[in-house]
């Protein structure tokens, strides 16, 4: 769907009208996020509400990822804070956490009774398999955001591939990957930024 309105200029993006709209938007998307919210954040904020472009989403998420703390919690605070300052950040944060937390506690109380049944275990397994697919698909969708990067398609592809192999196959700790490949990627971006800057001058 994102392909049907590619590269919108920033002024055609929508924006939340109030803090309560932020709160309910994040509550609603958090409640749809089984096995992680990131896939839903991308779908709701970029594809449905169009508060940000795919490229902006990837940039914000990169920052949310590198900062300590839960990624989607960081992301919700960053987005909320951009529109309404600290109150906006807290509205988004409350939306992201309150309803899901109440729900997960109820689930824990209920699950304590049925934990040993085959049905509950099987359903958990099935949902886990689907959740893995949701996350991979979000990654595939965002690959499109890389093609317009000033770093060049090939460099982006090589960096992405190296990261995947390091984390998924070699099981290198994330901090090491972010420091090593991240530093390499940022220095390359720094170089490309210089070239791009000269071209436009």
């Amino acid at each position: 769907m994102t392909a049907s309105h590619p590269q919108l200029p920033p002024d055609t993006l929508a924006r939340p009208q109030s803090r309560s709209e932020l709160f309910w938007a994040f509550t609603w998307l958090a409640l749809q996020g089984f096995g992680g919210v990131l896939a839903v954040v991308q779908r709701v904020l970029v594809e449905e509400k169009r508060w940000m472009t795919r490229e902006q989403f990837v940039e914000d998420w990169a920052v949310a990822q590198i900062m300590p703390g839960p990624n989607v919690v960081n992301l919700s605070m960053m987005i909320g804070g951009r529109y309404f300052g600290l109150p906006g950040a807290l509205s988004a944060l409350a939306g992201m956490l309150m309803a899901p937390m109440a729900l997960v506690l109820l689930l824990a109380v209920w699950f304590a009774g049925v934990a040993h049944t085959e049905l509950a275990q099987g359903a958990l397994r099935g949902m886990g398999a689907v959740a893995a697919g949701l996350i991979s698909a979000t990654g595939l969708k965002l690959v499109g955001a890389l093609t317009s990067s000033p770093m060049g398609k090939v460099a982006c592809l090589v960096l992405a591939l190296a990261t995947f192999v390091a984390v998924a196959w070699l099981r290198i700790p994330l901090a090491g990957v972010l420091l090593g490949l991240g530093a390499l990627a940022c220095s390359w971006a720094w170089r490309c930024e210089q070239v791009a800057g000269k071209d436009t001058q």
Partner: protein, 200 residues
């Protein structure tokens, strides 16, 4: 049920401060600190049993909401275990909710304050070349991390002869979400149904 434990005020405080420390170490998400939580809560303090620990993570994965909610469930379980055993279920609830509150505010406060301050600064200086280079450079890395996460979740089931239906489910879900706009809840419900019926 693990054996009941007696909690003093300083134990509650230790729970809170340990999660505050982990908050600052949780680069790449709260789940990356799970191994250390296990060391602290299960091995060192004996506040949780092994199965209580893994159930907390599995339940939070299956429920909607951010994955960090597994921390809330651990706080809840620690609180329940710390409650006086003699009947009174009001005490269990109160202790459980205290555990939730301390664990969640511990894991969220330091990182959120830091992230909020740092990102406000970065947004103000968004035309700064270093800020731009950082955001541009990290984009391919984080996109690849998503795919790696999907891969790792699927690869947790590692016996091809038994687990191939699970892998197939993951692949089909990937393609459906990538190429169509079917609502994710339908897919998750379908996965739960297949699993519940014992077909995958």
């Amino acid at each position: 049920m693990s054996a009941n434990i007696v909690f003093s005020l300083s134990d509650w405080w230790s729970l809170f401060t340990h999660f505050m420390l982990l908050s600052l170490l949780a680069v790449g998400g709260a789940i990356t600190t799970a191994p250390d939580m296990h060391r602290y809560l299960v091995t060192q303090q004996h506040w949780l049993s092994d199965s209580e620990f893994t159930t907390s993570i599995a339940l939070a994965q299956a429920a909607p909401g951010p994955n960090v909610l597994f921390v809330a469930l651990m706080g809840w379980q620690v609180g329940l275990n710390a409650a006086p055993s003699v009947g009174a279920s009001e005490w269990s609830w109160l202790c459980g909710l205290t555990g939730v509150f301390l664990a969640m505010s511990g894991i969220l406060l330091p990182s959120s304050v830091l992230t909020y301050t740092a990102t406000r600064w970065a947004h103000k200086n968004r035309s700064n070349r270093a800020v731009k280079a950082f955001k541009m450079g990290m984009a391919p890395i984080v996109v690849a991390l998503l795919m790696a996460t999907g891969w790792l979740l699927a690869a947790a089931h590692d016996q091809p002869s038994r687990d191939w239906p699970l892998w197939l489910t993951t692949v089909v879900a990937t393609i459906v979400v990538w190429k169509t706009r079917i609502h994710m809840l339908w897919l998750l419900g379908f996965g739960a149904l297949l699993g519940g019926l014992g077909w995958i």
